[in-house]
Amino acid sequence: MRITRTVAGRSRRTAVMATTGLTAAALLLTGCSDSGSDSEEAADANGKITLTLADFGQFGYKEAGLYEKYEKANPNIKIKVNTTADEKIYYPKFLQQLNTGSGLADVQGIEVGRVKELVDTKADAFADLSEAIDTNQWVNWKSLQATTDEGKVIGAGTDIGPMSLCYRRDLFEQAGLPADREEVAAKVAGGWEDYLKMGEEYQKKAPKDTFFMDSASAMYNGVVSSNEEQYYSKDGKAIYKESAGVQAGWDLAAEAAEKKLTAGLPQFSDKWQAALRKGTVATVACPAWMAAQISTYAGDAFKGKWDIARTPGQTAANWGGSFLGVPAKGKHVKEAMAFVKWLTAPEQQAAVFKAVGVFPSNKGAYELPEVKEAKLPYFNDAPIGEIYAEESQVIPAAVLGPKDGVIKDTISTQINNMETRGTSSDDAWKAATEAIDKVIG
């Protein structure tokens, strides 16, 4: 009946799938082939079980060869993985599947910005992982994030995002700044204000067409993440308008935009990737997983020219990190829990860290040589295991809220408007609060 000209149902879905944008062709393929996986019968004649896992972005299990390893160790199990590149597309679909109870994988990835919403509204739909896994293995704030008030654990912690500062040694030298990581850390020991001062210094003698930072929203996230209270209070109220961390982060971002210390590149966008490839940004506020992104996009040309220092003010902050949940209605809840337990055990988290650089949430992994002695050659052999493990233990247990992820994105968009469009701080804040009130709605 619908005389749909532009987007009929199917092409709309493909279109949505393709928003992820990075690798269009590959994404279109996955977009078209992701349905129908649950119709496959679970156990075949030999009693072989197919465990399905759905995740987003880069969990690193494939890169670390963990699926094959698990299949080899458990010959009765076959693992099937369905990865969506963009979490924004993955999550609504996941919610719909949770609502209808169909199409769910045996193991599902959960982003930290969403975990509170699931804990609050969907805890019943998940198996209690505390039955199988000792949650004390994780850094304590991580396990709290996925635990309901009754003590049910809906997600096993995979990685965390302790903050650091990634910077370009060569650009710093050319601009007359110290290149050594200890000296850089000392120069910004006073906090993010010092970081901006360093930015002004950099910009004065900066090599042509380079910028001190990639985007002010990255710095903003770094500042906010070091606070215990961010967007919500402990009793679940949205307090972002009064939150000290948000205010401080916003003001710093506005200052950076005004002083033109930033290239104004929305992180992970094409422009951002291009700037890294061309090497025109000198610093990036750097949660552990960011190092992998930088080395991927900046490429071999800048190997060894990047380095990692402690965050300004040596604040301990966490930005990002994910969980693995087991839907209660799955066909193989028991096997799925065993699989999740194995995936999040110290050895496996260390292997993932080695493969793609996402930092373990399991404290046991910090004692393993893969983490403890880890040095990133790309970042001038920065001792990342040491830097991050030390910080991870002292990160404050941040209060999470159901809409943390969307609020963060909304504010980032407006910070970007200040940087690139010259929107005044007041106008941008007004636009941000209007949009966020709509989110909380």
């Binding site: 009946m1 987007v7 279109a15 799938m17 609504p92 609502n99 929305p266 159901p402 968009t413 469009r421």
Partner: protein, 332 residues
């Protein structure tokens, strides 16, 4: 039509009914009643499948969407529906972003539909000449229509890219600075309109061509005997004959531009694409709906947007119909 065709194939032709001699009167009455029933009911049975399918997949979702629009429903918990009456509608009507989306949709609709239909008309006129390999040309102009929105939009996203985009690369040859197409208020709309025009011009041209070929050739002969030039023939014979077709394409294009989704979503992609640009500069109503439902997870207002879109379409259709009536009258 041929009068000898039996009205109801297998059952035989009408004279049968009037040859009742061998059949008892009661049976005859029963038969004729059956015939009459068949006569009346069969057509409905034939078209029933469409209406059943339409009811299940068209009407039911439509009404259910309306039901949702009157409730507070979150994607996180579809079972919990709280009655709020018209609140969702007043929410979206008070939202400045909604009106931005309305005006964006309207502007993009106009700047894509008008040139598109004009070019299609011209193309159809050219294709209507006697050409060598005419089928080849006709097929060629339809190829953009055959590509999917997603791939077309992604290719054009590369063309309109700031960094290393084809268009900015060409501009650099003329010494012009690169344009950040997606971030400008007008440039982004133009970019989207270009994608739409590229995809749909050929499609409309073929529709016009089909209509043109139905115009009796003696009209043209008479016109040329009267000394009318090609242009005069086009204006005074072709266009009037095409009026209903043109109206049809306008309606179809209007509906299409109202539903514009893939092109704006993919122009920038990512988070910006999903909300129609960092300042909503190219946010269409469909994107607004999508953002409300699938990003903010509030299904109530999203459903309200869907109904508002339907209302707008009906309004536009009514205007179209009125205009059509007036022009037909003035033409007559």
């Amino acid at each position: 039509m041929a009068t000898s065709t039996p009205t109801r194939g297998a059952h035989g032709s009408k004279p049968d009914r009037r040859a009742p001699k061998a059949i008892s009167p009661g049976r005859q009455a029963w038969r004729s009643r059956l015939w009459r029933f068949d006569d009346k009911a069969s057509p409905y049975a034939y078209i029933a499948p469409f209406f059943l399918v339409f009811g299940a997949f068209g009407l039911y979702p439509l009404i259910y969407t309306g039901w949702i629009a009157l409730h507070k429903v979150e994607m996180t918990n579809l079972d919990q529906m709280e009655w709020v009456g018209w609140e969702n509608f007043s929410t979206i009507l008070q939202d400045s972003e909604f009106w931005t989306a309305v005006s964006n949709t309207f502007i993009i609709g106009v700047i894509s539909t008008v040139p598109q239909l004009l070019v299609a008309l011209g193309l159809a006129h050219l294709l209507n000449y006697k050409l060598r390999a005419s089928t080849f040309w006709r097929t060629i102009i339809l190829t953009p229509y055959a590509t999917s929105v997603a791939s077309a939009a992604l290719v054009f996203a590369l063309v309109f890219r700031v960094d290393g985009g084809l268009l900015n690369w060409l501009l650099s040859f003329v010494g012009l600075d690169g344009i950040d197409w997606a971030s400008g208020h007008w440039t982004s709309k133009i970019a989207i309109a270009v994608i739409v025009i590229w995809r749909w011009t050929g499609y409309n041209a073929l529709i016009y061509l089909a209509a043109m070929q139905a115009v009796p050739s003696d009209l043209y002969e008479a016109a040329s005997i009267d000394g009318a030039s090609r242009w005069q023939q086009f204006r005074n014979v072709t266009i009037p004959a095409l009026r209903p077709t043109i109206l049809f394409t306008i309606v179809i294009s209007t509906i299409g531009s109202m539903q514009l989704f893939g092109e704006p979503l993919l122009l920038e992609g990512g988070a910006n694409g999903a909300q129609g640009g960092s300042e909503h500069q190219y946010e269409t109503l469909s994107i607004y709906l999508y953002n409300y439902g699938w990003n903010l997870l509030h299904l109530g207002p999203a459903a309200a947007v869907a109904w508002a879109m339907l209302a707008l379409l009906l309004l536009i259709a009514a205007i179209n119909w009125l205009v059509g009536r007036v022009t037909r009258k003035s033409a007559a």
